[in-house]
């Protein structure tokens, strides 16, 4: 099965032989790809059916809530923490980012960019909360409670002294340039470190 484009980027960027925690790992799709590359990948996932599927695949996945249970992991337990498409659903994204860089010196964070031109247009012309391909759910039932833009995220990192090692931007499934990312990126992936 082909990996989602953001997961494929992360999977390719994790060095072989490292220890990784995938937070919000779903049914273990990324973990499976990482394990094929001799990465010691483990997971944290809130949904029992997903956890069951991952364990049944032979993976090490713990049922838990990223908002509450990251504190159970000791400092530097992993080389990389991964939070894909989950930041905008957390109660306090700033604290989550802090936790990621406590349990690992580096972290991958990916999220849908709320400043993508389609989102801007929907808000500007429609006057309504955007419903797009990456944000497909109406405002009243969306799990995305903290919408974030590429610029917002950069600001947060700057204010916390967190370094950006690399960033990838996707428009559809194609890469978008850094310069145009704020407008053109539907999806952003950051590799951050303690700085």
């Amino acid at each position: 099965m082909a990996l989602r484009p953001d997961l494929a980027i992360i999977a390719a960027a994790v060095p072989v032989g490292t220890r990784v925690l995938d937070i919000g790992c779903g049914d273990g799709t990324l973990i499976a790809a990482l394990r094929e590359r001799q990465v010691d990948a483990r997971g944290l996932e809130i949904d029992a059916a997903n956890v069951t599927a991952a364990i049944a695949r032979g993976q090490s996945v713990v049922q838990g809530d990223a908002n509450r249970d990251l504190g159970d992991y000791p400092d530097d337990a992993f080389d990389y923490a991964i939070l894909s498409q989950t930041l905008q659903t957390t109660e306090r994204p700033d604290r989550i980012v802090g936790e990621l860089l406590r349990i690992a010196p580096r972290a991958f964070v990916s999220f849908p960019n709320f400043a993508h031109w389609r989102v801007r247009l929907a808000l500007l012309w429609g006057g309504r909360m955007p419903v797009t391909r990456l944000l497909p759910v109406a405002w009243y039932e969306t799990p995305n409670i903290h919408h974030v833009t590429v610029s917002d995220f950069r600001d947060l990192l700057r204010s916390r002294g967190i370094a950006v090692e690399r960033a990838w931007f996707l428009s559809g499934d194609r890469p978008a340039s850094d310069a145009a990312a704020s407008w053109r990126a539907e999806h952003a992936i950051f590799l951050i470190s303690r700085g």
């Binding site: 029992a48 069951t52 838990g64």
Partner: protein
């Protein structure tokens, strides 16, 4: 009844070496009754040890010799089952202190030949594991592919990983805990007092007599049985329905179906279990606290177990060993960097869910076992 129970012949080995106990005492030799299924492979790497619960036994996948019923985990262990006996050499040993052929209170005193009764030393979960390790030494199995158990079997599994982390690749712990809570101890104490208050208990020396504390043991089982079920499960199964009558009797017969059910469960239990064994094993469970030897820090129990793969499963309706107890173990494992999996499954059967039809559990066990190799 107890005398009939003790006439059953079990497959066992007697190991002529002392078994040192946590109490400071020692058994001069130890008998371990066990059953095995499947074939040990050439490099002796496919052995899976199944640890049974309080009132379980070694008949995990074969018919029980006293009741004739199928093995207590026949749905989980067998050819093509999650614990696949076509792949794994499955061993299940009767725990130390029990009554199905392993050394216990009904065992004879070496000097007099009379049953030991209460002269049998108080044993612990750790002692049970030590006896199992001696059995594996005897069988020439240095390292297990996995240890798996539910309830008290899960306690043994945790104790295995703590005491012999180099002897197992994988630990699967279902509906269990790393310690007995005050509530757990309290329920056990009710059971023990019921047995010891039965005049037929006779200070534990009832083996030679024609009286055994079946009434006390039945009451103990009735109280314990409630803790194995969920409130919703009991309500669904019995509600307030009356037993074979149209109206309340205004007496103390088993008016309600749930009373009749419990009485039957209690009585049937006395056909297959020994009252003294019940005292000893409940005591062992009450003494269980894996953190205690490590200054109360559970992580200390697992510092050498970093390379063991752990899988823990709890059930949302299990109030005897609730999810929080499994989480506590998972937190300790994570703090030492051990590979741990954990999920709380939804099942309506309370603590007994680990023995019953929960398809997600089957998939988990099969996956966790495959992962250990």
């Amino acid at each position: 009844m107890a005398s009939l129970l003790h006439e059953i012949q079990h497959h066992s080995v007697t190991i002529d070496a002392p078994l040192p106990l946590d109490s400071g005492q020692a058994l001069p030799s130890v008998t371990v009754a066990y059953q095995s299924h499947g074939t040990l492979n050439a490099d002796r790497s496919n052995a899976v040890l199944v640890c049974h619960a309080l009132t379980g036994d070694q008949y995990v996948a074969s018919d029980h010799p006293a009741t004739g019923k199928p093995g207590w985990w026949a749905r989980m262990v067998g050819p093509g089952k999650p614990v696949d006996t076509d792949r794994y050499f499955v061993i299940c040993a009767n725990v130390l202190g029990s009554c199905m052929g392993s050394s216990g209170p009904a065992s004879p005193d070496a000097a007099t030949g009379a049953p030991l009764g209460m002269a049998f030393p108080v044993i612990t979960i750790g002692d049970m594991v030590r006896a199992q390790a001696m059995l594996l030494d005897h069988l020439g199995i240095a390292r297990l592919h996995a240890v798996i158990g539910g309830s008290m079997g899960g306690m043994q599994t945790l104790a295995w990983a703590s005491a012999h982390p180099d002897r197992l690749a994988s630990a699967i712990v279902i509906a269990s805990a790393a310690r007995h809570s005050a509530q757990n101890i309290a329920f056990h104490e009710v059971g023990r007092q019921a047995i010891m208050a039965d005049p037929d208990w006779q200070g534990g020396q009832y083996y030679g007599s024609d009286r055994a504390p079946t009434k006390g043991l039945a009451v103990a089982r009735m109280a314990a049985h409630i803790t194995y079920l969920s409130e919703a499960g009991l309500t669904e199964k019995f509600g307030r329905r009356l037993q074979a009558r149209d109206a309340k009797s205004f007496g103390f017969d088993a008016d309600f179906q749930v009373e009749s059910y419990l009485r039957h469960q209690g009585l049937a239990f006395t056909d297959r279990f020994d009252a003294n064994a019940y005292l000893y094993i409940t005591r062992a469970m009450d003494y269980f606290d894996l953190a205690e030897p490590h200054g109360g820090t559970l992580a200390g129990a697992f510092t050498r177990a970093k390379d063991v793969r752990f899988t823990l499963v709890s059930f949302d309706t299990d109030w005897l060993y609730p999810t929080a107890e499994s989480r506590r173990v998972v937190q300790a494992l994570q703090s030492v960097g051990a590979a741990a999996s954990f999920v709380e499954l939804s099942a309506p059967f309370g603590h007994d869910s680990f023995l019953l039809d929960v398809p997600a559990l089957d998939r988990l066990v099969a996956g966790a076992l495959a992962n250990g190799g």
